[in-house]
Symmetry: C2
């Protein structure tokens, strides 16, 4: 029975100014998934470390993409998926995307790589639909392509890899719950044109900064005048963390996806480690539990490890 | 008496999706300006080819920037400026920007290049204020820096040159009048967040396309869901021109600045020449007079020619 093991990493969607279009793949945390080819046309899902996962494939973020994949390739086969979940659901670190992306990359490999990466993103989006009710690609695209990705357009799907220089990422996941649906509801339906202009100036600056390896420009562009002002009120300590981290040398950062995790980018690993201490201090004072990660850009995305 | 002659080129602001932040410098049309250093602290303005120009320096787009420049450098000197105007005021091709940018580059050269390009943009913006009542940089920045420029932020001023591959630009200037103030008034104060997201996806795609020399991506990103739908109603034949030019092989294009000039980008010069015929045909049928230009990216901006 052909079996494959993959590592499927966490992702940071939005990257401050790039709401719904930018995403970044990071090394840690990452889920491990074992996928086996089955002779019967069925999809079996198992949780390896006690995370309660829906076992109905159509209700599971790893299962729904494979149902769609099998529908399109018309091969009489199935998959068994064992998931060692490390990325916490609801963390804002692309947990559902990692399950979906890991499943499709592994399954595609077992089928002889008959689909390209864009197809895999398309399949993985069915997993996002299970998780949040909406097909979106700003986590699954960086998870599958690696590095920084731009979703220029959803219909038709247009994914562009943005070359990025080495960056260190500090993440703190405060143990509070924000539902993606609530984080969406808090957003205004309309925004001031002058704010939108500021935002697309920053988005353009961020893309140019990444492609020029201009760290100062990256830092200056990490400004969000539209989504962050609305969502940051849901996250205790947000302003304090941001202020202190920038004073401590971070280029900038903000809410990861729809939160509650916060991230900061740094040019040097040593700075990213200092930032971790700064973040911990803030939440220690507030009295909220947390997990932290100091990690780097994952340029590969989902990786086959066995 | 030290004298210098410069060529100050036309510019295309906005570049479809980059309203108020992107601009492109083109080779033609261009104004010629002769600037001489005077011993007295005065600014003298002359029109060389009959264009009626305001002769009060503070009311003149070339004069006001020099008044500001002299104020800041505290040198007891003055300038005589002779302007051979080729870029028609009100064309949407950065006519006032060319006068302002040409004046400051020439004057700075005569003063021994004591100011950097960013200072020159800052001075030139006083000329834009004379022309339109508002300081803006999306024409003066590409005119001074050359190529494609991004104004990431106005306050503080942050200008980034976006590397761009060779492109051919076809411009048609229909002989109709659109006042910049009217073109601004027609814009909505608020826009749908989902439209803003589309727009910044395209802005990011355009910057990435230019920096990757990915012509197809440039073409796909030349889409404006916010400003063009409002402003294009002011320009007869707009939809017809756009449709026919894209069918004839243009990458894409739209309104130059606040119009009425229209521009199209092409990968090959021969295509840009075909596009010129297509544009002429449309306005011949409508019965509107026009000027056309087939030109290329001007990577130098204002150039000293003598």
């Amino acid at each position: 029975m052909a079996t494959i093991k993959v590592s499927s990493p966490a992702t940071v969607a939005n990257l401050v100014c790039g709401f719904d279009i930018l995403g970044l793949c990071i090394n840690e945390p990452a889920d491990i998934m074992e996928v086996a080819l089955l002779k019967e046309n069925t999809i079996v899902i198992r949780s390896a470390n006690g995370y309660p996962l829906p076992l109905d494939p159509l209700q599971n973020t790893a299962g729904a993409p494979l149902v769609q994949m099998l529908k399109e390739c018309n091969i009489n086969t199935g998959f068994e998926i064992i998931i060692y979940k490390s990325i916490k659901p609801g963390s804002g670190l692309g947990s559902s995307a990692a399950s979906a992306a890991g499943a499709v990359v592994a399954a595609n490999h077992l089928l002889g790589n008959i689909f390209d990466k864009k197809d895999l993103v398309r399949f993985a989006m069915f997993g996002e639909e299970v998780a949040s009710g909406v097909q979106h690609a700003d986590n699954v695209a960086p998870c599958i392509y690696g590095g920084v990705t731009l979703i220029r357009s959803m219909f038709p799907l247009d994914i562009i890899v943005i070359p990025a220089p080495p960056l260190y990422i500090t993440v703190i996941h405060p143990q509070i719950e924000i539902r993606t649906a609530d984080a969406r509801k808090i957003l205004p339906e309309r925004v001031l044109l002058k704010d939108a202009v500021k935002q697309w100036g920053n988005v353009a600056g961020l893309v140019a900064g990444l492609m020029k390896s201009d760290y100062e420009l990256i830092g200056r562009s990490l400004e969000d005048v539209i989504v962050e002002p609305a969502r940051s009120v849901l996250i205790p300590g947000f302003n304090e963390i941001k202020k202190q981290c920038k004073e401590a040398g971070a280029l900038g950062g903000g809410i990861s996806g729809s939160g509650p995790s916060l991230f900061m980018l740094s040019m040097e690993k040593i700075t990213a480690e200092v930032i971790e201490k700064v973040m911990k201090n803030v939440y220690d004072k507030i009295g909220i539990d947390y997990h932290t990660y100091v990690t780097a850009i994952n340029y590969d995305g989902v990786k086959i490890i066995e």
